[in-house]
Symmetry: C2
Subunit: 171 residues, 2 copies
Amino acid sequence: MKLDRSKHCIIPQPLTRDAFAIFGDVIEVDEKRNNFMINDGYTQRYHDLAKVDVSTNAGKVLLNIFRATPLPEPIIVKKMERHPLSSQAFIPLGEQPYLVVVAPAGPFDETAIRVFSASPDQGVNYNPGTWHHFCLAQHEISDFLVVDRSSEGENCDIAKLNRFIEIGHAQ
Amino acid sequence: MKLDRSKHCIIPQPLTRDAFAIFGDVIEVDEKRNNFMINDGYTQRYHDLAKVDVSTNAGKVLLNIFRATPLPEPIIVKKMERHPLSSQAFIPLGEQPYLVVVAPAGPFDETAIRVFSASPDQGVNYNPGTWHHFCLAQHEISDFLVVDRSSEGENCDIAKLNRFIEIGHAQ
């Protein structure tokens, strides 16, 4: 098959819990979800914000920091990855927004790719198998806390796009 | 026994990995520890920064956000807590320093309390059983990502101090 390397453009949409539900969790303060006061009234606990799933094949949870350099503009999506055995969460530690590029779990369908703009107050947790682009910092080098799985056993598939996607800018 | 409610004062010390080693992990970027480039050279991965330990009694890992209000100054340490079944990690999501008050695991020894000043770029992970004060934000209401354990089974002990501690300020 001859590949079509022409591009099309996707404008990022705001990240919301509902829009992201089929891909995973949005990790954020939300007064409408389970939260309660602890510590003599000095701490509000926003409870259990993501389904961390790392236990397949006796996996253990890892806490890591990813220091991400922004890609050159315009950002071109050429490939995606998935971790079939585990969830993976990214929580921004800085003050910049970032981009989240995902496609549903299952056979890779590049026509189903979605692009979200996440605020500095929003983390994401990809469900096992959710296709996603690697960490897309914006504006400056940005640190993320990453919650994933120890690496015993192959746990990363890559899919290349036939038609590249340019990430546009909302007007 | 008549309690001695007089106070004494402890000046916070800078948080370092070595000084904190008997209490748990410091979660921070450290070029001297295991890190490597991924994502086509756009991400540096600082790998496996904390020993998350939540599996006792089939515990599962939780991701939460704690929104902490600073205590009135001067801060007085009156009690400490520990989670015998699990580690607990706090990673600051904002730009303010915070205080970390700990004592070694085992029978509570209030004479062994240590007070650290953590920078906004440093998280901490308390080992199971490490005595610690609850979340001590400074300067403004501050959010922390907290990695702990689902709450089945009792997992919090409280110890009250006979002699309160006032947390002083470094000159």
